[in-house]
Amino acid sequence: MRITRILAAGALAAAALLGAAPGAVAESPSPSSSDGTATEGGGPTEAGTTFRTATPVRQGQLATANASSGDYLYWVFTADAGQRPTVRATVTLPESAARHGASTWRIDVYDGLRRRQPCMYGMQSRAAGAEASSVDLACTLRPVRSLADPWEGDPLPGSYYVRLTVTALPEEDLGLPVRAEMEAVSKEVGGAYAVDGALAEPLVPGVSAKEQRNEERAGLEVSTGWWSDRWLWTGAGAVLAALAGVGGYVLTRGTGRPARVPPGA
């Protein structure tokens, strides 16, 4: 088990090395391919209504749902250490003739412990005018770390719940049909956020319980947990230091014999 992990991580390292040009030991913000490469449009077509019934969706998969305005729609995806997930949602509103005014829509993201996660960037909440036909929302989470203090709310590897709902709308517009789309994608942030330590289990509800809530785990690839580009930086530093050391040594030797040695000695 351990050995396969190490081998897998080694292979990842190799991939990183092969993929990186000699000078590009630095930041390598390649877009995440993130495993969840299910076919476009193959995503779920329903959304859950609570944390418990949240519909699992893989990263990169487009989830859709038909709902009534006023519903609380829940999806759940998984994110691993070193990823910075971005959630995007689009709500297609009912035709404006049927509506009575502006509405405000909002996405909230919660981690596997149901703690609300703040958005670094993105229009988490947006008002749609009375004439608007759709509204786009986005939320970029902080980078997921492999471990944090229990007193911190940093994102950790595990489940992430997305809740989409309307926060303000005219009373008459409640219950009208709307269509929602949601997609979660991640960017790899690299070793800058690689911290020490790792969770024993990802933050997925029910990991220790006997009951099967495994549908939520479906999307989580096993984190090797120890690889980061810090190994490359430190290794490269060691090589450079060794070279510099040899250089310095050679410099003191000079080219010929030491000056103070008497000729013929």
């Binding site: 209504t49 471990l147 926060t167 809530r213 230091a241």
Partner: protein, 436 residues
């Protein structure tokens, strides 16, 4: 026991070293080529359980004659939608149909308000029979929503299947003082995990408010229907939703202080917590384990604009270990928070490795909107997990490794200086040796 734990600790240390050695194996890996890490396999669904039960409650009151849905009467639209829904019901769903206001056309309020009956019993569905039963309906009487909901709850009683009532009506309840919203809240408070979804056919403001209240009280949804296809689509969606496997939480009652609190094992629980009430639970955590708890409190009735929830992990002596808190404002279905408490592995004796009792205190700062009852309490959902403690961080950075141009610059300078120094020292030594 202690020995095993120590072995685990040692093994962890070895693992770390081996991981460091893994870095050296990197070259080997380069040669070995690429081997993608095995993705986690998708797990299967939960084990087979009781089939989910759904009851459709249809309003057959006189007002259903109104012809305002796609040019046909509300009743005709409902019948058409029912036919489509009955065709699409998933095999494993037990479906029943109940009517309200179908039989008594008279003016006697008391009799009219008892007019609800089961049209088709909850059970394996015979589509033809159910369709025939629906076809006989004609708009007739009053709108006793409250009694119909009570009847439907009885129809679905028994077993631990998931239960759902889909209420389709075109008007508000005409049978006060029995407020259907209160009825729904009482049904939800029985802890039988019954969800009521409501659909209003061309609803007016009062109907909307009432149906919304019923849905909110049980965690259901409210839909306003203007067209026939919306009706059939939505009802089918709700019936299918009932068929989705879901974990049913275990009802329990938290105590007012830690000493009396129920001891929880990992799982999913529900409770009720009144406005401003504190509830305590206890969890045993052994050294080397991590407690994970999350709580959500649902706003199942109109509440004031600002609200919050606080969960604290406290020792038996009252010291707060860690807390999770959240506050919010505006329209919401629930508010939730969670906490993690990793307990460090104990080094030695057996006594120290005994489980620690961690008290969990859950409190909320919801307040009821004016004229809203505070009984029963707000629904509270609690999840508890106990897993192995994490590999604690020995450094801020991963394995204490460095990163960045400053690091490289420093290493080059220091390496160069060391090379120079070494060169001078060796030259000096050679010179001394030669001269002697």
């Amino acid at each position: 026991m202690a020995l095993r734990r120590r072995l685990t600790t040692i093994r962890r240390m070895i693992t770390r070293k081996r991981l460091a050695a893994g870095a050296w194996a990197l070259l080997a890996a380069l040669v070995a080529g690429l081997a993608a890490p095995a993705p986690a396999t998708a797990a299967d669904g939960p084990a087979a359980k009781e089939p989910p039960k759904v009851e459709l409650v249809l309003d057959v009151s006189g007002s259903m004659r109104t012809r305002d849905i796609d040019g046909q009467s509300r009743m005709a639209a409902a019948k058409q939608a029912f036919n489509e829904v009955l065709d699409a019901v998933p095999e494993d769903v037990e479906l029943g149909i109940r009517t309200l206001g179908a039989d008594y056309p008279g003016e006697d309020r008391e009799r009219g308000c008892k007019d609800t009956r089961q049209l088709y019993p909850v059970g394996p569905l015979d589509r033809t029979e159910a369709k025939t039963a629906v076809a006989t309906l004609a708009p007739t009487g009053w709108t006793p929503i409250g009694p119909a909901l009570l009847g439907a709850a009885d129809d679905l009683a028994g077993g631990d299947a998931t239960r759902r009532i889909v209420l389709i009506t075109d008007g508000e309840d005409t049978c006060a003082p029995l407020d259907p919203c209160e009825v729904a809240r009482d049904i939800a408070a029985k802890g039988i995990h019954l969800v009521i979804d409501t659909l209003g056919l061309v609803p007016d403001a009062k109907t909307r408010a009432q149906l919304r209240c019923i849905a909110e009280a049980t965690g259901g949804t409210y839909t306003s229907v203007q067209h026939t296809e919306e009706l059939s689509g939505r009802v089918s969606q709700l019936v299918e939703r009932a068929a989705d496997p879901v974990v049913t939480p275990v009802p329990l009652e938290g105590a007012a202080r830690c000493a009396d609190a129920p001891v929880l094992t990992p799982g999913l629980y529900t409770d009720r917590e009144a406005f401003g009430e504190h509830r305590w639970y206890r969890v045993d955590v052994r050294p080397g384990q991590e407690l994970r708890a999350s709580v959500s409190i649902a706003a199942d009735r109109p509440v004031e604009r600002d609200y919050g929830v606080l969960m604290r992990a406290v020792t038996v002596h009252g010291r707060e270990i860690v807390r999770g808190s959240e506050a919010g404002d505006g329209r919401t279905d629930l508010i939730s928070t969670g906490l993690r408490y990793p307990k460090a592995p104990s080094d030695d004796d057996v006594e120290a490795s005994a489980a620690e009792v961690v008290c969990l205190q859950v409190s909320n700062s919801f307040s009821a909107a004016p004229g809203v009852t505070s009984e029963p309490g707000l629904p509270l959902e609690l999840t508890v997990d106990v897993v192995d403690a994490p590999d604690e961080a020995a450094d801020v950075a991963s394995f204490g490794l460095g990163r960045g141009w400053w690091l490289l610059g420093l290493l080059v300078v220091v390496g160069f200086a060391a090379g120079l120094l070494w060169g001078w020292v060796s030259r000096w030594r050679v010179a001394v040796w030669r001269t002697n």
